[in-house]
């Protein structure tokens, strides 16, 4: 009895996802042009938030490095954009971010708690100022022009990265590898004693999550035409994925997805309707979310669902 229902649920979920994917793939054909641009932004934040959750969700290591990895991708796009075709540039952007993550991870993933948080945030500033110094003193410029492509191209590329990142996160969650990550988050010593290679696991996952952030950066840079270190390494991009993940809830894969999508849309809505008050309104929403939705939107939805389901049972 039990198995068929879960199979049925799975089929429905798959069906819904498939339809959603078709809608997203075809939307540039009929959706208003601005919707496509807005969706690109939403996809970008979903990529950042989900890839942040891939590492920080199970392990509990709060990383404030997304802006650093994103920025590396942006610079990859500026430096290589005129040399290679865009898909290669995106791949290289992701790989450079991964390499950085491996180096940084090897050095610092022995740090825990607040020390790790501080270090990762320091990394953003370190890279910003290093590149600034390099550009001023070695190359004698700070701004770089990035080759641009059409909005639809950017949309499809971002959608591609989005699909890959969600598939990766899904498969990771269900694998032995994901289980090992979870065990690191629960008790690192115990995990090590049961034979999990703790450091290697952490570094490889950190690098994996950095790959997608770098790829997202390489794509988005093409929309900006001109970049300098301050634009590429924008600290806000370190905090937003964390906030979006909290907003959505990190317990389930769709938590960060819903969190990032709703957060981005809400911001766009408020900024255009209330240009002078949106920050205040946004602040209230965040305070409310943190005070009353400890498990995020997804936690709230699940609770509501249960309550409705429970009421039905009481009736019958």
């Amino acid at each position: 009895m039990h198995i068929p229902t879960s199979n049925y649920k799975k089929r429905v979920a798959l069906g819904v996802l498939f339809i959603l994917l078709i809608v997203m793939v075809t939307s540039p054909l009929y959706a208003p042009r601005y919707t496509v641009i807005l969706l690109t932004s939403i996809f970008m934040f979903i990529v950042l938030t989900v890839s942040w959750t891939v590492f920080s969700g199970p392990t509990g290591y709060v990383s404030l490095a997304p802006a650093a990895f994103f920025g590396v991708g942006v610079y990859a796009s500026a430096l290589l954009g005129f040399v290679f075709p865009l898909p290669v540039v995106i791949l290289l952007g992701g790989i450079s971010s991964s390499c950085l993550a491996v180096i940084v991870g090897a050095l610092t993933l022995r740090l825990r708690g607040i020390y790790f948080v501080m270090f990762t945030f320091g990394l953003v500033e370190l890279l910003l100022h290093f590149i600034l110094w390099w550009e001023v003193n070695i190359t004698g410029t700070t701004g770089r022009v990035v080759p641009t492509v059409g909005n639809t191209t950017v949309y499809y590329l971002m959608l591609g990265v989005l699909v890959i990142v969600i598939l990766t996160a899904y498969l990771l969650n269900r694998s032995r590898y994901g289980l090992a990550l979870q065990s690191i988050g629960e008790c690192e010593e115990a995990a090590a004693h049961t034979g999990v290679h703790v450091t290697a696991m952490k570094i490889s996952t950190f690098a994996l999550s950095a790959f997608f952030m770098g790829a997202a950066g390489a794509i988005m840079a093409t929309r900006w035409t001109y970049i300098d270190p301050r634009i590429a390494f924008n600290p806000v991009l370190s905090f937003l994925p964390v906030l979006m993940a909290i907003f959505g809830g990190t317990g389930q894969l769709y938590g960060p997805v819903i969190g990032a999508a709703l957060f981005t849309y809400l911001e766009e809505f408020l900024i255009t309707r209330f240009p002078y008050y949106y920050m205040l309104i946004f602040g209230f929403i965040m305070v409310f979310a943190i005070l009353y939705l400890p498990e995020g939107l997804v936690g709230m939805i699940q609770k509501l669902w249960k309550r409705i389901g429970g009421a039905k049972h009481a009736d019958s």
């Binding site: 001023v136 700070t142 929309r223 900006w224 301050r230 634009i231 924008n234």
Partner: protein, 403 residues
């Protein structure tokens, strides 16, 4: 019976909707969109330079009933639709495209700052929207092929040689140059140094500093120990305040003291520090109420609306560019971007600063002045030639002693 009644109401409602919607579609105003930094690090800059000029222009145009557009046979008032880009370039690009695609505004005004102009120019160009540059700009912008972009503000290309000429005229023998480590600093730094050398002025120090620095006294002390006559810094307001404040505190005096960005602001600089403190400080600019009758008119109108004086670098530039733009619309007699663009690119119109036109690269050339100097509370234009409103004050009086 009942459903028939509903049907009737439905049909009437639909008809009414279309009937009332039809007059709305007729043009009754010109909507101009602007994504600009109302919050974040650039917001202070928007407030002291440029941001308010656009508001004043809209206010003044509407006071006269709007812009006459022949195609519609009437005057159309202007509405400024502003969004806040939070000083984030990604947000700015999105909002600019939203204004164009979703809100379908008639025209767009520029965002604030050089980097933002770089990002905005190709977007506006892609949709065939005219973009008249405001605060910001750099030689590098010429590298982009964007026929709908017009550069209004002057920068190192014309200010560097003028400053060097002034230094030569007053007898400066040696100079120390400091520049901020960013596009602005590097462009000015690398432009000023050869200009000085060409005129036989020795550059004894040429140093960059990181944008977020909180202590610039080492550079000032080094310049002092080298015994230079003049100190010239390519800085932004935070650095400008540091250079000024620290040289006052340390009692370091140069015979000439020049900062690119900051002295032009009567509110942020003169009123904060005091008329006697800023006496003799030179800055990028420049114009003042004496530059032309139109300039005086701008100061009066600005003070009447905002109770403060406009900035004496770009204020008159942006104001006149908007007058030029308005005349181009009136001449085109339509809101067609292509027609207006072609008129703007080719025609000379009389504006507050005098005749206004763009060169073949669509750069505005007839600047009201390049270098200003505070003299008795007035930001005097000290360029050699006809634009000068007062001779340069040299040597600059020593900073007042701290009590």
């Amino acid at each position: 019976m009942k459903s028939k009644g509903f049907m009737r109401i439905f049909v009437i409602a639909i008809a009414l909707f279309f009937l009332t919607a039809a007059p709305l579609a007729a043009k009754d105003k010109i909507v101009i969109g602007q994504a600009i930094s109302l919050s974040g690090p650039q917001a202070a800059g928007v407030d002291i330079s440029g941001g308010k000029i656009y508001e004043l222009w809209v206010h003044e145009v509407n006071k006269e009933g709007g812009i006459f557009v022949k195609e519609y046979g009437k005057k159309l008032p202007v509405e400024l639709k502003r969004y806040d880009d939070k000083t984030d370039i990604g947000t700015m690009t999105n909002l600019l495209e939203r204004l164009i695609l979703e809100d379908k505004v008639d025209f767009v005004f520029p965002p604030w700052g050089t980097a933002f102009l770089f990002a905005a120019a190709p977007i506006a160009n892609k949709y065939g929207y005219i973009l008249i540059g405001g605060p910001g700009g750099a030689l590098k912008l010429k590298e982009l092929n964007v026929p709908y972009f017009f550069q209004v503000l002057n920068f190192s290309e014309t200010q560097g040689p003028t400053l060097a000429e002034i230094f030569k005229e007053v007898g400066v023998k040696s100079v120390a140059v400091a520049y901020r480590g960013d596009l602005h600093g590097i462009e000015y730094g690398s432009a000023m140094v050869p200009d000085f050398k060409k005129r036989g002025i020795e550059v004894k120090l040429n140093k960059s500093y990181p944008p977020d620095i909180k202590d610039l006294s080492p550079i000032l002390k080094e310049a002092q120990s080298l015994g230079v006559d003049a100190f010239a810094a390519a800085c932004y307001p935070p650095g400008g305040f540091l250079f000024t404040g620290q040289s006052i505190e340390l009692g370091i005096n140069f015979k000439a003291f020049f900062l690119t960005v900051l002295p032009f602001s009567p509110n942020a600089y003169r009123d904060n520090l005091g008329v006697n403190v800023v006496e003799g400080v030179m800055g990028g600019g420049a114009w003042n109420a004496k530059s032309s009758p139109g300039a005086k008119d701008l100061v009066d109108k600005f003070v009447a609306l905002f109770k403060v004086e406009p900035d004496y670098w770009g204020g008159l530039f942006y104001w006149s560019s908007l007058q030029h733009f308005r005349k181009a619309i009136e001449k085109a007699g339509s809101l067609d971007q292509k027609k207006i663009r072609d008129i703007m690119a080719n025609e000379k119109f009389e504006t507050a600063l005098g005749p206004f036109w763009y060169d073949k690269d669509r750069y505005f050339v007839n600047h009201p002045g390049e270098i200003g100097q505070w003299q008795k509370g007035v930001f005097e234009v000290i360029d050699p030639g006809a634009k000068r409103t007062a001779p340069p004050l040299y040597p600059k009086p020593a900073w007042p002693k701290k009590k």
